[in-house]
């Protein structure tokens, strides 16, 4: 499974949203109305999934799936 699909899977499982609600280029705040606490949870879940250290300052509720993918990819490649 590619990184983007895994990110979506984490979000669907964690936030109990429908997969079709997640749009690659929409901000999470706009597409599924995430709050800041959900983002704390999301960052922790993504860290566990990809075994990398992520920054809650870089992955925010105003990030898109594409933004998150880019961020995660950059940490994985390091």
């Amino acid at each position: 499974m590619d990184t983007k699909a895994k990110i979506k899977e984490v979000l669907v499982k964690l936030l109990r949203v429908k997969p079709e609600e997640l749009k690659d280029d929409a901000r999470l705040y706009d597409s599924i109305g995430v709050d800041s606490t959900e983002m704390v949870e999301t960052v922790i879940a993504l860290e566990k999934e990809f075994k990398v250290k992520l920054s809650p300052k870089e992955i925010t509720k105003f990030s898109t799936i594409n933004d998150i993918e880019k961020n995660v990819q950059s940490k994985i490649s390091v």
Partner: protein, 411 residues
């Protein structure tokens, strides 16, 4: 202070969810106290409770929200929805700045907190849900109900042990009578059927140990009483000004007309044995309601089923009502579903409102041999009785007394 109309009732209790089912079970005098099944309570001295197992069936709360909140917020959300529906109110049509929420709670949300504390010790800091911070504390249901409905008016959560919710309703009336708000959701919620909350209630020492016969365990005012049994749930009312209620075509089921509260100031747990301060709170509520004691047709008792609490309560009503007390029906219907602690006053009020509406006083079950003689306890089964005005007593540890006077509405 003016009377305030009650136009909607929402109830989530071990005796039923929704006022129809609740009332049907209450008037039948059936006990809903059972052995605790949610967790292994076998080592607890008291391991019985009024437990709710089918809340999901009545709930429209999303999975996404449920994982962020404790059971006591869930119960308050379901009760609020039922109350609004009963009142025929669509919050979207209200000015959100003029709607408030006044709720009472004693313990907070331990089902959520305990799981997270376990994770803290097992997995460390990162094992704890970030929602822990907003899920456990007593005002969390107020926040969740406000977010769910977009309610933005003056609101308050009262924490005063078992007197919490009756006090919240008393405050709500005060705020409405000053015309500060159009409408208030008022009541309380409690979810004490959790390992830690049950432990604390056991430590307090006021719980019945009659685990072998749960249905007979809670016996307020009975000679063989040995403490109360906890219960979980929520009771929420829609309260609004009489003029406003009538102008929108609502028929108030009752009016809240008086409130009184005092402190005993003698002990950090027990009440004063003389009941004098409770008597003063009753007098205060009657004066506030401009109701003569002769007009009271029913008294809903706090009834903790602990000697000093029950005896001082009887002393207080004797002090106020004197020889007339023998003619006033008295009852403590929570003996059927358990003491909802911070939400107990709201549930007592709801039972009283339904009793007035149906001209039927529900019984105190298990009151086989009253410890006090010459009183009109309604026992074993419900009794036909027209009530136009009733008194509700709710008390808390540390000697908190709160009393409400209610009057029959248009039924």
């Amino acid at each position: 202070m003016e009377k305030i109309a009650v136009t909607g009732i929402g109830v989530v209790s071990p005796s039923g969810i929704g006022k129809r089912q609740f009332w049907a079970n209450i008037k039948s005098g059936r006990s809903f106290i059972k052995g605790i099944t949610r967790f292994d309570a076998s080592k607890y001295p008291s391991r019985i409770a009024g437990q709710i197992d089918d809340l999901e069936r009545y709930s429209h709360i999303s999975e996404r929200l449920l994982k962020k909140i404790d059971a006591f917020s869930h119960m308050a959300l379901v009760a609020s929805e039922m109350a609004l529906q009963d009142a025929g109110i669509d919050i979207k049509n209200e000015d959100p700045n003029l709607v408030g929420i006044f709720l009472g709670n004693a313990l907070g949300g331990w089902l959520y907190a305990e799981t997270e504390l376990r994770d803290l010790y097992l997995e460390g800091r990162e094992g704890v849900s970030p929602y822990m911070a907003s899920a456990w504390f007593p005002a969390a249901p107020q926040g969740q109900v406000s977010i769910y409905y977009g309610i933005k008016g003056f609101s308050k959560t009262v924490v005063a042990d078992r007197a919490s919710s009756l006090m919240a309703i008393g405050y709500a009336r005060k705020v409405l009578s000053k015309d500060k708000l159009n409408l208030i959701l008022a009541g309380g919620m409690e979810a004490p059927v959790t390992p830690y909350a049950l432990l604390c209630c056991n430590t307090y020492g006021a719980l019945s140990k009659n685990n072998a016969h749960p249905e007979n365990a809670y016996r307020p005012f009975d000679k063989k009483r040995d403490g109360c049994v906890i219960g979980e749930g929520s009771g929420i009312l829609v309260m609004e000004g009489i003029e406003r209620a009538k102008s929108r075509g609502a028929r108030p089921s009752a009016y809240i007309s008086g409130y009184g509260t005092t402190c005993d100031a003698v002990d950090r747990i027990n009440p004063a044995s003389d009941g004098k301060e409770l008597a003063r709170a009753i007098e205060m509520a009657l004066a506030d309601a401009k109701v003569n004691k002769e007009e009271i047709g029913y008294i809903s008792l706090d009834g903790l089923a602990v000697d000093i609490w029950d005896d001082s309560e009887i002393r207080a009503i004797k002090t106020v009502f004197g020889s007339r007390l023998k003619d006033i029906p008295l009852s403590c219907p929570k003996s059927m579903f358990g003491n909802l602690l911070g939400a107990s006053g709201a549930l007592d009020l709801i039972v009283s409102l339904l009793a007035m509406e149906h001209n039927l006083v529900p019984p105190t079950i298990n009151l086989d041999e009253p410890a006090a003689n010459g009183l009109s306890f309604v026992r074993k089964e419900a009794k036909q009785h027209n009530i136009s005005k009733a008194l509700i007593i709710s008390r808390g540890r540390g000697g908190i007394n709160s009393v409400l006077v209610v009057e029959k509405g248009e039924t």
